[in-house]
């Protein structure tokens, strides 16, 4: 546990030294405010499900860039040699780094809480549904960060990792959009495997344990896959 904490803390420290973190966080917040204002003022509604549907697309595009540097940078600087020759498990390194990225994502989400608070003061919001939206977007972000983590473990070039991550996450988004045009078994299968389909119930205000299990499995799988990729890299080198 201590090792995970140490890795996460170092990652966060480095993250906020580089301008990339600030650029990502501020562009996310800028877009989020745009969605909030656009939806509530044009539609004159306190229902935030439309806002959160848009936010998810933003998350798909931005989160891979948040996790692109996690391993690529270590590989490029050679600091991965320090981690791999220290008495620490690869899984601890992976979890520590993932938590660091997740922490930044949580900070981003926490700042957007200002908007529903503002709406509360103006006219009042239905908090259980809003909090469910937040849980949903948190899980979507966690899953997409997982994709970025795997991509980062694959290459020492963080730009390649970032673009690969976005390509994968947007493809998943595209598949879930296509599923709207299909019917029958194909649609059922797509709805089971894509992130967006599982996010829909959160948008509708439905809490389903199956969705939680889906996201948890997705996150654990990406952590496991990243660890395996790094381990096999040690063999191939």
């Amino acid at each position: 546990m201590r090792n995970i904490f140490l890795i996460a803390r170092r990652e966060l420290l480095s993250c906020f030294v580089s301008p990339i973190a600030y650029i990502i966080v501020s562009s996310f917040l800028f877009c989020a405010v745009y969605f909030f204002i656009g939806t509530t003022f044009t539609e004159r509604s306190t229902d935030l499900s439309g806002v959160f549907a848009n936010l998810a697309i933003l998350v798909f595009m931005i989160c891979p860039f948040m996790s692109m540097r996690l391993f690529s940078e270590e590989k490029k600087n050679g600091t991965i040699e320090l981690l791999f020759t220290s008495p620490i498990d690869i899984m601890q390194i992976v979890i520590g780094k993932y938590f660091a990225a997740l922490a930044i994502f949580c900070i981003m989400l926490a700042i957007t809480l200002l908007y529903p608070l503002f709406l509360q003061i103006m006219s009042g919001v239905y908090w259980p549904k809003v909090l469910l939206h937040y849980l949903g977007i948190f899980l979507v972000g966690s899953a997409v960060l997982g994709i970025g983590l795997v991509c980062s473990a694959l290459t020492e070039n963080q730009i390649v990792a970032g673009i690969l991550g976005v390509a994968i996450s947007l493809s998943l988004l595209l598949i879930s959009w296509i599923s709207n045009q299909t019917t029958g078994v194909l649609r059922a299968v797509i709805d089971e495997i894509t992130i967006m389909a599982h996010y829909q119930s959160f948008l509708k205000g439905i809490f389903d344990v199956r969705d939680i299990v889906y996201f948890m499995a997705w996150i654990l799988f990406s952590l496991f896959l990243s660890a395996k990729i790094l381990e096999s890299g040690k063999w191939r080198n």
């Binding site: 090792n3 580089s18 020759t85 008495p87 620490i88």
Partner: protein, 315 residues
């Protein structure tokens, strides 16, 4: 302390190490010497647990590095060829992080940082950002990192590469100081570095151990005996003939006024050389023992194995 048996490493179809067998006791200072691409870095990476060997075992302080890497790595401090530094951190933050992941208890981390920084000579740079340090100080920070958990075994991969001559001397002195208390493996393709610092020298060539001995031992092995150089005022050729006849050396060659004498056992003959020459009326100007330099040994060993089947290795 270190027991390596039958260690081989393949990168895909390409074999980088061929059945390496080495054994070193606690406190040994070992110099791994070899041309670029001989397999030194590969061997050090396997010993440090950075990557696994394809076959064979490597046991550090009684623990198999492949079977139980976490336990074995507690006893190992490793400095890769390029020091693994985070440029955005201060030296203190970096050493604190390194101490943490190497399992130093939280309470003793500040003391360990100070001790390792003092050993590496960077105590006045602790609050500086690593990205702004000179190359020599980065190397020292890397060494402090390797020392932070007081490892029994220290592995240094080309610790002086890319440094200027003054920095090389500083780092070399630093290593000599550190080596007094622990087992050290250090690699280099710069010969004097190994010659000065290391008691045992292992020459690696094409993924094989070409030789393993002390410097003096290697000199005897490669030249076939000890060498003594003699300088006389004139008639060096006739003096060489005289010495060969009277004292029966294996070889006695005169060139440019210097006679090079070689024999397996010099201990008895050494004293007689001067006596014989002076007695015969030669003006003796100089008499010195000249064991083959490491350059010569290295050249001889690596060139003589040129025709071996091992392919070129790129690290």
């Amino acid at each position: 302390m270190i027991c390596i048996s039958n260690l081989s490493k393949f990168y895909g179809n390409f074999q980088a190490l061929y059945g390496i067998n080495l054994e070193f006791p606690q406190g040994a200072v070992i110099g791994l010497l070899g041309p670029n691409g001989a397999g030194k870095t590969t061997l050090m990476r396997i010993i440090s647990g950075y990557m696994p060997a394809t076959s064979g075992t490597c046991i550090i302080d009684g623990i198999d590095i492949h079977e139980n890497p976490r336990e074995a790595q507690k006893a190992i401090g490793y400095l890769p060829e390029h020091p693994p530094l985070y440029p955005e951190m201060t030296v203190r933050e970096y050493l604190g992080f390194a101490a943490g992941i190497k399992g130093v208890p939280k309470k003793s981390i500040p003391a360990r940082i100070d001790a390792a920084a003092a050993q590496a000579g960077i105590e006045h740079r602790l609050n500086q950002i690593i990205g702004t340090l000179s190359k020599g100080y980065r190397q020292r920070t890397g060494i402090a990192q390797a020392l932070i958990h007081e490892p029994k075994l220290l592995i240094l991969d080309e610790p002086t590469s890319g440094l200027d001559p003054n920095q090389i001397i500083e780092i070399r002195n630093l290593i000599t100081g550190i080596a007094a208390h622990r087992t050290v493996i250090l690699s280099s393709h710069i010969l004097p570095e190994v010659q000065n610092a290391c008691k045992t020298i292992v020459i690696i060539h094409n993924g094989r151990v070409a030789a393993e001995d002390t410097h003096e031992g290697l000199a005897v092995k490669t030249s076939g005996g000890e060498t003594i150089k003699v300088r006389v005022h004139e008639n060096s050729e006739s003096a060489a003939m005289l010495l060969k006849e009277k004292l029966s050396f294996q070889s006695s060659v005169a060139k440019d006024g210097i006679i090079t004498l070689m024999d397996k056992d010099m201990s008895k003959k050494r004293g007689l050389i001067a006596k014989t020459l002076v007695h015969a009326g030669y003006d003796l100007l100089e008499l010195s023992s000249a064991s083959a330099s490491l350059e010569e040994i290295f050249h001889k060993l690596t060139l003589s194995e040129k025709n071996s089947p091992g392919p070129d290795i790129s690290e």
